[in-house]
C-alpha cells in the first residue's frame, strides 16, 4: 500500500526486557510499526500488555533492550543530553494521572516557563513570556491571571490535564504520546480534552499517539488502531476495520467484553 504521507516514527524489532534470569519479563516483544505524520494512532491493550513500556520507549524515557526506532526517517539518536533535549522538542507526552504529573513544589508558572525556555525563549523579556503563557492558557480555556502563583494540585483533574495541553501548545511538538489522557478524569471533561487535542493536531500538524485500554476511545479518536497483547501487536489497521470487523480472536474478545448500549451485550461468552 502506497502512502504519500511522511513517516514520523518507525520501529523495527523493538523489544524491552525487564529483569534478569528467572525473573525476566518481556514487556515489549519485537514490535514493528510505521506511524505516519498527521494520522491519529491508538495503541490499545489491557493492563500488562506492555503499552506503557512501549510509550516510554517512544518517548526515550527508557532504552529498548533490542531494536531500533526511526524518527522522521532517520535512526533516532538520543545518546547525549543535547540530542535528547532536541528529540524532546519534537515529542511530548500527557500522562494518565494529572495529580501525579506535576512536581507539587513548583507553581504553574514554572511548568509553563520550562516550556518557553525549552523552545529557546529564555532571554525573552518577561512581558513576552507572560503573553505566551496567557495565550497557551487561553487555548485550553484556562485564565492565566487566575493560575499564576497557584500550584497545579489546586486545580481539578480536568484543568490539570488542560494545563498539560497548554505545555504542548507552547512546545508544538511533532508527536504527542497521550498515555490514558482521559481515564482519570470525569466523562464530562473528556470531550473537552479530546477536542483540544484534535485542535492541536489540526493547527500544529501534530501526530497524536493514544495509549489506552479503552477500545471505545480508540475507535472514537483514531485513524489507525494497534491492538497489543502480551507485548506484541496482534492486529492493526484502520479504526473501522479493526473495531467493526475484527479478525483476531483476541480483538474480537476484547470488543465483545466491552459493554455496549445499542447492541446486546452478550454475557454468555465468559
Amino acid at each position: 500500500m502506497l502512502d504519500e504521507r511522511k513517516p514520523c516514527l518507525r520501529g523495527r524489532g523493538l523489544t524491552k526486557v525487564f529483569g534478569l534470569g528467572r525473573s525476566k519479563t518481556v514487556a515489549v516483544d519485537h514490535v514493528d510499526f510505521d506511524f505516519k505524520e498527521g494520522e491519529v494512532i491508538s495503541i490499545v491493550g489491557e493492563s500488562g500488555s506492555g503499552k506503557t513500556t512501549l510509550a516510554k520507549m517512544l518517548l526515550g524515557l527508557i532504552n529498548p533492550t533490542e531494536g531500533e526506532i526511526y524518527f522522521q526517517g532517520k535512526r533516532r539518536d538520543i545518546s547525549s543530553n543535547r540530542k535528547r533535549k532536541a528529540y524532546w522538542k519534537q515529542i511530548q507526552a500527557i500522562f494518565q494521572d494529572p495529580f501525579a504529573s506535576y512536581n507539587i513544589f513548583n507553581k504553574i508558572d514554572s511548568v509553563l516557563l520550562d516550556c518557553i525556555n525549552m523552545i529557546g525563549g529564555k532571554r525573552l523579556p518577561h512581558e513576552k513570556k507572560v503573553e505566551m503563557m496567557a495565550e497557551a492558557c487561553g487555548f485550553v480555556n484556562l485564565k492565566y491571571e487566575e493560575l499564576t502563583n497557584k500550584y497545579p494540585f489546586e486545580l481539578s483533574g480536568g484543568q490539570q490535564q488542560r494545563l498539560m495541553l497548554a505545555r504542548v501548545f507552547i512546545l508544538k511538538p511533532k508527536i504527542l504520546v497521550a498515555d490514558e489522557p482521559t481515564s482519570m478524569i470525569d466523562a464530562c471533561s473528556r470531550a473537552t480534552i479530546l477536542d483540544m487535542l484534535m485542535q492541536l493536531r489540526s493547527e500544529g500538524g501534530m501526530t497524536p499517539i493514544f495509549i489506552t485500554h479503552d477500545i471505545g476511545l480508540a475507535y472514537y479518536v483514531s485513524d489507525t488502531v494497534y491492538i497489543m497483547e502480551k507485548g506484541r501487536f496482534v492486529e492493526s489497521g484502520s479504526a473501522d476495520d479493526v473495531i467493526l470487523k475484527p479478525q483476531e480472536p483476541y480483538t474480537k474478545r476484547l470488543i465483545s467484553d466491552v459493554p455496549k448500549i445499542y447492541e446486546e451485550w452478550d454475557l454468555s461468552t465468559v
Binding site: 480555556n141 455496549k260 447492541e263
Partner: protein
C-alpha cells in the same frame, strides 16, 4: 407492585472536616427498591455516590456523620439503631457492601476459607467449621467459582477472581440488599464482564433480593441495572428506567453525561461528544438554587433563586429542573438539529 425491600427517605449525611466544616455529601436522598430490582447510581467523581453507598449501610464512622432521614430495610428502620447493633445484625445479613478495592481487603496471610469462617462466626459463633465449608462450597459452585479457591491464598488468585470471591463471601449470609461501589473498575474488561455476570446471577438465583450498583461508567450501568439514578452535588437530579436514562435523559446534567458515552459501536465516530464546562460546586456552601445552574447552558436567572424540588412525572421517573419535560425535549431536539 412488588414488595419494597429498601426504602430510603430524605437521607442526609455529612462529612465533618478537620477544620470543623460540614460537607453535605448526601443531601435529602429518597429512593425505593422493589424486590428483584436493581438500581444504578451514576455521577461524576465527588457527586456523593460513594458516600451514599456508605450511608445506606447505616453504620457511620468519622468523618462521616448521620444527619437526618430514614433507612428501612425489609421493614426494619436501621437509622434509629445503635451502631453496634447495626454491625452485628444488619451488616452482612440485611445489607452487604462491596467497595471498589474490596479484593485488596483479603488478608494475604490467610486462606480464603479462614476468612469465610471469620465472617460467619462473627455473626454466629455456634456454626461449625465443617458446616461453614459445606455452605461456602455450595455457594461458590452455584456461582461458577471452583471450590478449590477456598483453600487458596489471595496472592494465588487473579484480580478478577479475588473480586468475585469477595462478592461471593459478601452474600454468604444472604443479605437482602447488595451495594456494589465500582466493583469492576479496577479490572480489565474480561474480568469486569465476569463480575457483572456473577452479580446478575446473584439476583437470578435469589441470593440477594435487590442490588444497588454504583459506577461512573454509563454503558456498564445500562447493561446491569433496571433503573438509573443520576446524582449531582449530593442530590438526585434524575431517576428513570435504564433505557430512558440513557436514551431520553431530561435533566441537562444527565443529558450531558449521556452525551459523553463512548462505546466501540458503529456510528460513534460521527457523534459529537458533549462537554460540560466548569466544575461541580463546593459542598461546604452549595448554591441556594439549582446546583447545576452555573454549568448549565439552558440556565435562566430564576434557576438560581430557590432550591428546585425533584419533580415526579409518573412511571417512576423524576427529575430536578425548573423546565417542564416537553420544553427540555424541545430544546434538546433543536440543538441536535443545529449540530446536524
Amino acid at each position: 407492585m412488588n414488595r419494597v425491600i429498601l426504602d430510603v427517605r430524605g437521607l442526609t449525611t455529612k462529612y465533618i472536616t478537620r477544620y470543623r466544616e460540614n460537607v453535605y455529601a448526601v443531601d435529602g436522598v429518597s429512593l425505593q427498591i422493589e424486590e428483584g430490582k436493581s438500581l444504578g447510581i451514576a455521577g461524576e467523581s465527588g457527586c456523593g455516590k460513594s458516600t451514599l453507598a456508605l450511608s445506606l449501610m447505616g453504620y457511620y464512622f468519622p468523618p462521616l456523620h448521620y444527619t437526618s432521614g430514614e433507612i428501612i430495610i425489609d421493614g426494619i428502620n436501621i437509622s434509629k439503631m445503635k451502631p453496634d447493633d447495626v454491625r452485628k445484625s444488619i451488616l452482612g445479613r440485611e445489607i452487604a457492601y462491596i467497595p471498589q478495592s474490596a479484593m485488596n481487603a483479603l488478608n494475604p496471610t490467610q486462606r480464603i476459607i479462614n476468612f469465610v469462617e471469620d465472617v460467619v462466626q462473627a455473626h454466629d459463633s455456634s456454626v461449625s467449621k465443617k458446616a461453614i465449608y459445606e455452605k461456602a462450597k455450595e455457594l461458590f459452585e452455584s456461582l461458577g467459582l471452583p471450590a478449590e479457591v477456598l483453600h487458596k491464598y489471595p496472592v494465588e488468585l487473579s484480580g478478577g477472581m479475588k473480586q468475585r470471591t469477595v462478592i461471593a463471601i459478601s452474600v454468604l449470609l444472604l443479605p437482602q440488599v447488595l451495594i456494589a461501589d465500582e466493583p469492576s473498575s479496577a479490572l480489565d474488561v474480561t474480568s469486569q464482564k465476569m463480575v457483572i455476570k456473577m452479580l446478575r446471577n446473584l439476583m437470578e438465583i435469589g441470593y440477594i433480593k435487590a442490588m444497588i450498583f454504583i459506577t461512573h461508567e454509563l454503558p456498564l450501568l445500562y447493561n446491569v441495572t433496571d433503573d438509573i439514578m443520576v446524582m449531582y452535588a449530593g442530590q438526585i437530579v434524575e431517576k428513570a428506567s435504564a433505557h430512558d436514562a440513557v436514551f431520553d435523559p431530561l435533566h441537562p446534567y444527565s443529558k450531558g453525561l449521556m452525551g459523553s458515552i463512548i462505546v466501540p459501536e458503529e456510528g460513534l465516530r460521527s457523534t459529537k461528544l458533549t462537554a460540560i464546562p466548569g466544575v461541580p460546586p463546593n459542598l461546604k456552601n452549595p448554591p441556594s438554587g439549582c446546583r447545576f445552574a452555573e454549568r448549565c447552558k439552558y440556565a435562566k436567572p430564576e434557576c438560581t433563586v430557590t432550591a428546585i424540588p425533584l419533580r415526579e412525572i409518573g412511571n417512576g421517573r423524576a427529575y430536578r429542573c425548573i423546565f417542564p419535560e416537553d420544553e427540555l425535549r424541545r430544546m434538546y431536539a433543536k440543538e441536535a438539529a443545529q449540530h446536524a
